[in-house]
Amino acid sequence: MSFRTWIHAGVAIAAFGLSTSVSAQENDETPVLLKGATVFDGQKVLEGTSVLLAGGKIEAIGKDLTAPAGARTLDCSGRWITPGLVDANTALGLPNAQENEQSDEITPHLRIVDLYDVEARDVVRARQNGVTTAYITPGELNVFGGLGAVVKTGGPEPIVLEESGIRMTLGNMPGQGNKPFRTFGKPDEMYFRRPQNRMGVIWEVRKAFYDALDARETDIGPTQQMSAATKTLIRALDKELVVRTVARGDQDIRTAIRLAQEFGISLVLDEATEAYACLDYVVAAGFPVVATAPSLRNVPDNATPHFDTVALIAKAGVPVAIQTGTSPVSLPLIREAAFAVRGGLDRNAALASVTSVPAKILGIDDRVGSLSAGKDGDVVVWNRHPLSLGSRAENVFIAGVER
């Protein structure tokens, strides 16, 4: 076998090993009938509806479902059922909220999925709060932080997408750790480097993309190998990978959109705190938005959060998802959605912004985010309307099994 062949075999074995190792908790394949609940299917509310889970998938959804032989039936009258929540941007299961390799600014090729631990405490907590799928992201301390991943918070196959989007941070955050000469930095130190501020960050972004364009256009020959970072950025230029940009201030949002148009990349506007201040640009650009957690009052980059941001973006017709993000003080995802309702968002739109919309943004809407036959058996049973203050996720199913 050639070296390459067994490397690939190794990767396959690794993926298999990971999936078998992390959750051998349950192999219960018993079908489950969730009977007579008020169901939010990702778009609309259906009264007196039942959901049948079998074989790890949603078998059927409808008014008069009967339990197959040997099935477990759960009486859900008075209960609410939603798809498992999808958190569009988190640091769940990672060692640090800001996980970055800081020896370099441009590290788009580093894979955050290598650090995901499905048994970490914050993952368990998110699952208990109804989150079954999450996008995990590298930190904001590098201009290009790395590759995000889509994961589940439990179940036999916790990794959904190993490489999902490239983290690109605008604003002041990437400059935070770098030390300029006058504030104790030494020229021989690793952190004595660009960028220091917005201007430098934008310069780094454009240089990296121009280098990638150069490498793509020029035949650099077999002796000179392209760096992994360049290869990854070329995938973004080819629209194979979406760029997840952090842009909180309205200036940074406009910059992100301008850069995306300049290089022809597809963008998701993460952490668009001040999107209300440049709504026309956002609407015209048509990029989806992952809004900052609506409960947060203090966010970096001197951005000013408004309660009604999510409502305004949604009303303008832009797909908007709600995230908990990397902030240590954000609330459980369902509570953040409730804050958006307080800011004027329609209830169903709020539920969609933590289920079907993020699933669509992450490109996994064929599997999660809505309830229909054939989708993954990720379902949450709530004791009352999920957005009410006293709501609790009573039963959380991932791949058809209660976790």
Binding site: G10, G17, P95, N100, E101, Q102, H109, I112, E119, A228
Partner: protein
Amino acid sequence: MRSPIRMTTPGIARRSTMLLSLPLLAFAATVSAQETWTVRAAKAWISPDRAAENVAIEITGGKISTVEDAQAVDDTSAPRLRSFSKGVITAGFIDVHRAPITQDSIGERAESFTPELEASHAYDAWSTRWKRLLRRGVTSAVIAPGSENVAGGQGAFVKPGRPARSSDSASYLKFSLAREAISRNRRPTSMLGALEILRDGYASLEGRPGARLTPAQRSLATTIGGARRVAIAARTRREILASLDLLRTWQLLGCLIHGNDAADCLDALDADKTPIVLTPLGLDAARKERDLPGLLAKRGIPFAFAGESMDEREMPALQTSLALAVRDGLAPEAALAAVTTTPALIAGRSEQVGTLLIGRDADLVVWSGDPWDLRSRVLLVVQDGRIVHDAALTHSMNTKNEVSGR
């Protein structure tokens, strides 16, 4: 024949050893590597799963030549015989992950990726301080680079006090994903970066069979297909899972060093039974540390204890580990394996050391009782057929230059 070195009380012992030491000294001095001699004891652990009563082990040319029932040994026909009527013989202990004498840890800290370095270059066979290790029953060791580099270098399998050439001492290649490999002052600053460095190293070999490789690449290439083991320092669950993932991805033969949180990922470890080198159990070990050997043994995951202390004021670390592990319910056989056969396996020297089978190196220790009993003392240590420590002699003479290293 009664053993000439049986002692009753310390006072008498001291006086009697003074008197007895002359013939003993003559014996020790005359046993050369080429000669045949026999050591006899009440019990011997031939291997961790095989113990025998009344055993005589014949040593020829530094190897074990015969293992037989002591009754069959005719005293008069055995000109060179050391007999211990209450002694217990085990194979010499193997300290499979330790620092050389002069430094706590060797690691070239200026860079984090130094797989080309060889620990054998930091090994000083001529130091008299190796006798502290020998005196505790350790007859083989792997001198390992420290955990502060992502790829620290190549370990060296040595017989402490005996010279070793880098060519024939090669042992595992040391990697580290542990916290100390992550530094704020040089690459990598994160585990993401550490994983990337190793992945980059292996990926750079792809499609370059026999091409001109750098020394670092040559070193990595020796591990491909399991030809040489890699040892990865990993403490937390995440570090352990990432290490196992790395081993599978590149199809490496591996082992883990430290593995403090191994109890939290037994399922993952169970899958391919990757051996773990544990830090010795101290008397102050937490409940979690003391439970780990038993949990690993129950799953059949091989483990070793390594890191014998050279400080004579401290308890012998390996013997204490055995005692505490057995006290907490580990089978004595499993405990013995953790300092003999498992480290031999990890060092890649199972055919040479770790058991008392015929043809193996004559590395053995005579204890006054079972080694996992803290009351047991080391009576005699034999390395490559030579007596390197003799408890009967140490009271009566200055043993500064006792180790016959060459």
